[in-house]
């Protein structure tokens, strides 16, 4: 796949249809992969696409599409939803991006691999239902369901939206996805249990802003938490408003726009399951206002800027969900 992608990128660079390529490259370690822009064919030696390439590149296209010339972007299905949502918000100039859809069969989670006692990872490849991990101690085999990241195990869609060209096979929307199971499990707890759960999770937050920086829905030119007119940009005390409410507000701001790509949880250095907050909103929206997938439909108004005359009343919260 990687070779085919590089070849196609070279072709497009050569015939002048694009002037840059958006992809991934290795960091210090093989699993430490970050999105990268390649300015010419020579730089593509560093281009990598393997089972560690989980990063969502759509956000980078906001700035890239403001530059001269067209950029080639390889988008996985979940990246393409984020990309489409950003298009809807007029954040990306579609004319400046050439999109090639690439399939993604589930990315590996390095933490899960490490938890299995596999260390010194040098590379990874897919083989049927297993990952073959190349390490300094030799090859190790690990079953995919044990090593795949949570968001991939509950993948919502292997189908792209809005691509110019497909490489590999186009997938399907997965209606069977169990992605709301964990949310439902929490909903079934008592409020006290839920409070303890979240307190346990959120108290680990170090406010590093990684979730905000990676999130393709958190693309504000300037975040509300950095807005002096919002009166919440308090940087001092640990008990400040910002400290306590950051995650609720962030989840609310991306509600209806979050495509559920799961990047927030992937990058969290404290492993807080932040995606559950977003999924809670998605689940509520689906249940209360009808099925909605951000990015899936360019013309549909997103739920927070829409209403019907007979929407449910906020009091419905007292009746549904939760154990009381």
């Amino acid at each position: 796949m990687q070779e085919a992608m590089i070849a196609r990128a070279k072709e497009l660079l050569a015939d002048g249809s694009v002037s840059r390529v958006m992809g991934w490259k290795k960091g210090e370690f093989s699993y430490d992969i970050s999105p990268a822009v390649f300015e010419n064919a020579d730089q593509l030696v560093d281009f990598v696409y393997d089972d560690f390439c989980g990063a969502n590149v759509s956000k980078y296209l906001i700035n890239e599409s403001k530059k001269e010339g067209k950029i080639l972007a390889f988008l996985k299905p979940c990246d393409s939803y984020s990309f489409a949502q950003l298009l809807k918000e007029h954040r990306i100039d579609r004319e400046k991006v050439y999109v090639i859809g690439i399939p993604s069969y589930g990315k590996a989670d390095i933490n899960k691999i490490r938890a299995k006692g596999i260390d010194g990872v040098l590379g990874i490849k897919s083989e049927g239902t297993d990952f073959i991990v190349d390490t300094i101690y030799g090859e190790e085999k690990i079953a995919k369901f044990e090593a795949m990241s949570e968001r991939c195990l509950t993948c919502k869609s292997k189908k792209h939206v809005d691509v110019d060209e497909m490489m590999g096979e186009e997938g399907e929307w997965n209606a069977e996805s169990k992605r709301f199971d964990k949310v439902a499990e929490l909903e079934a707890m008592t409020p006290d249990e839920r409070f303890e759960f979240w307190r346990g999770e959120l108290s680990r937050c170090i406010r590093c802003n990684a979730c905000r920086n990676v999130c393709p829905a958190c693309t504000c030119v300037s975040c509300v938490f950095d807005n002096p007119n919002s009166d919440i940009n308090n940087k001092a005390a640990a008990s400040s408003f910002e400290e306590n409410m950051f995650h609720i507000i962030r989840a609310f701001h991306v509600a209806g726009r979050c495509t559920d790509c799961g990047e927030c949880s992937r990058v969290c250095p404290q492993n807080i399951p932040l995606h559950l907050l977003n999924r809670k909103f998605i689940k509520d929206i689906n249940e209360l206002y009808g099925q909605y997938q951000a990015g899936a439909n360019a013309d549909e108004k997103y739920p927070m800027v829409n209403f019907t005359f007979d929407d449910c009343e906020p009091g419905i919260v007292y009746k549904r969900g939760g154990n009381q």
Partner: protein
């Protein structure tokens, strides 16, 4: 730092009896920024107001907090007072310590404590207040009326009467609308043309009114007082200013097989036509779909015959742009299409007609000169069945969920006229309810039943089957609990009425809101019934909802008075408490525009280039303060907080929250 003065009102004993006003003033004086605090018997009295004015001057106050009755009561009074001594009126806040404190609490200690907290919140807010200046925009003293039916005509006449210029844009070749097609009007049975034609002539002759017939609105820019409207004048292939309306061409045109819209296709007209004798403007129009000359280039009869030389086959659509201060929407209605109602055999038998078609069949200007005969064989019908609520009050797909309102009365009128003109005709009316609220309406209906012996049957027609030259009508009679079978000669269907198809795209142009039935929504259902929520856009007639002629004329008049009220102003003073966007923080994501009910937000791509970053173009929002009404919906929708509201800024409300929760 602000220098704030606090003024606590006793309101006689209304406040002072339960709130320790002295303590409130003393405590608030300790608040940061408060340099003066006092209390007085009646702050709103002249003496009280002077006290405020004097303190502002003596203490060099930059902000004022009044602890008194509800701001809904005296905020305006106090704002005026502070403005009189040169303070910006928006530097004042009112803490409501009467309606929301002294009047609801009995315990003096509690009430005093609450009054202090409310005062503190107001002080905290004033700290963040900024002088606001209401914007002024000039008003173009001309109105546009879209639609030239009775609503548009009446409204235009009333506005013109007040001395303002009015343009009417009508999509048909003549003004007059549906009322020209109607034979008689209920409940007086006077002739529709006889009362409408003089008004049409008035419109044509009024110096203040200009008619753009055979024209459409294609674009609307601007806002209240300052609309720029693009109008398309469709090519009629006849020079309007030269045609004398003699009608010779309409007699000589060899293309005779053109369905006559005026008679709803019940007969034919020529390819060049004047819709009817009293048309305004009385100018011929060529139907390009049928004209042989325009289609094949071979004919030219009308051109040869026209002594005035008015025919111009090369005419093109013309596009104009005009300025208006106010826009009236009077786009009217149409009966719904009945193709989906198979059970009534409308598309199977020519003798099943809609009420509007029946109106033409009865009219002296109709296809048969007013002699009622069946369209199929031109025989006089002996049994006529009227069916009400065809498509009205229907929640299934092909119908409309609302009551069309006019059908009960016109059906009653039709039934009565039939019995009067042709006494040997049996007339049945099937009804679900007979709805006759209106002056002399129920009396009219009772006359039909009692004097004219119309058979009113509570029930509905289930099906109509053409059989031979009869229409077999099967219906229920719910009162006798039996099924009726009637051999009718004609069936008349009271089709539901719906908003004209042009209304929906027009609403988009105007950014005026519509309900799910494509009727324009009013700014307030009870208190602002002729205004659209979009400032400067007004509603008349059936564009707003089904209504009959008297109601339409009433509404058109009310609408005109609202328009006159607007045009009479030289300047519009806006509400300064409007939204504004910080373009440095704006993402241009359109979220705010999506929730704005007024279409006040527009986007432009601006250059944010700085030397070190190279070129940077960004799409940013800007709010038109003349259009924004200050609801603040956009401020919450905006994820980055770029959007804020003057007078109720995020910071201000936050500071009130902090002051209260301290």
């Amino acid at each position: 730092m602000q220098r704030i003065g606090v003024f606590v009102c006793h309101c006689g004993t209304n406040i002072a009896a339960t709130v320790d006003v002295k303590k409130v003033a003393e405590t608030l004086l300790q608040e940061p920024g408060v340099v003066y605090a006092t209390d007085y018997q009646y702050m709103c009295s002249e003496a009280g107001q002077n006290m405020i004015k004097d303190a502002i001057k003596a203490q060099n106050l930059t902000g004022v907090v009044i602890c008194s009755c509800s701001p809904r009561m005296h905020e305006a009074t106090f704002r005026k007072a502070v403005a009189a001594v040169g303070m910006n009126p928006y530097m004042l806040e009112v803490a409501n310590i009467r309606e929301q404190c002294s009047w609801i609490h009995k315990n003096i200690e509690e009430a005093t404590e609450k009054a202090i907290i409310l005062g503190r919140a107001a002080v905290a807010k004033v700290h963040l207040n900024a002088p606001l200046i209401a914007g002024q925009t000039p008003v173009t003293k001309r109105a546009l009326v879209i639609g030239g039916g009775i609503a548009g005509i009446q409204c235009a006449l009333d506005i013109a009467d007040a001395g303002y210029q009015v343009d009417i844009v009508e999509k048909e070749p003549t003004v007059g609308g549906k009322m020209t097609k109607i034979d008689k009007t209920f409940p007086t049975l006077d002739c529709s043309s006889c009362i409408l034609t003089p008004k049409m002539v008035d419109v044509a002759q009024n110096e203040n009114i200009k008619i753009y017939s055979y024209s459409e609105v294609e674009s609307v820019k601007g806002f209240v007082g300052n609309f720029t409207v693009g109008i398309k004048r469709k090519a009629r292939y006849v020079k309007e200013d030269i045609c004398t309306g003699c009608g010779l061409c309409t007699e000589k045109c060899p293309q005779k097989k053109v369905p006559n819209d005026y008679n709803l296709g019940l007969d034919t007209k020529r390819a060049i036509y004047i819709p009817f004798a009293q048309a305004v403007p009385k100018v011929a129009t060529i139907d390009a779909d049928y004209c042989t000359m325009l289609k094949t280039g071979k004919c030219g009869v009308c051109s040869k015959i026209c002594t005035a030389g008015a025919i111009d086959y090369t005419q093109q659509d013309e596009h104009l742009e005009e300025q208006y201060g106010a826009i009236v929407v009077a786009t009217g209605y149409n009966p719904i299409k009945l193709d989906a109602f198979d059970e009534f055999a409308y598309s199977q038998s020519p003798d099943v007609v809609t009420s509007l078609e029946f109106e033409r069949l009865m009219s002296a200007s109709g296809p048969n000169g007013g002699h009622l005969v069946r369209p199929s064989d031109h025989k006089e019908p002996k049994t006529i069945v009227f069916v009400q609520c065809v498509g009205s009050r229907s929640t299934v797909e092909c119908g409309k969920p609302y009551c069309s309102k006019i059908c009960c009365m016109y059906t009653c009128k039709h039934a009565m006229l039939c019995r009067e003109k042709y006494p040997d005709t049996e007339v049945y009316v099937f009804y679900i309810d007979v709805r006759t609220p209106g002056k002399n309406y129920d009396e009219f209906y009772r006359r039909a039943v009692e004097e004219y012996d119309v058979h009113y049957i509570k029930g509905m027609v289930g099906k109509v089957c053409p059989e031979g030259d009869k229409l077999k009508v099967q219906a229920s009679d719910l009162l006798t609990n039996e099924q009726l079978h009637i051999d009718a000669d004609m069936v008349v269907l009271a089709a539901a009425i719906e908003a004209d198809k042009s209304a929906r795209p027009l609403a988009t142009l105007l950014t005026a809101s519509m309900d799910t039935n494509d009727f324009f929504t009013e700014a307030h259902a009870k208190l602002r019934p002729v205004e659209s929520p979009t400032a400067g856009v007004f509603l008349a007639g059936c564009a707003q909802g089904p209504k009959d002629i008297p109601e339409t004329v009433t509404q058109a008049g009310a609408c005109a008075s609202k328009v006159i009220g607007l045009l009479a102003k030289d300047h519009l003073v806006g509400n300064p408490c409007v939204a504004h966007s910080d373009e440095m923080m704006c993402n241009g994501c359109s979220t705010c525009a999506n929730v704005c009910p007024y279409g006040a937000i527009t986007y432009e791509t601006k250059d944010f280039s700085r030397r070190k970053d190279g070129t940077l173009m960004r799409r940013v929002a800007s709010v038109n303060p003349a259009v924004c009404q200050g609801c603040g919906c956009c401020t919450v929708a905006c994820p980055s907080g770029a959007m804020d509201l003057y007078g109720f800024s995020t910071k201000q409300i936050m500071s009130e929250v902090d002051a209260i929760c301290k």
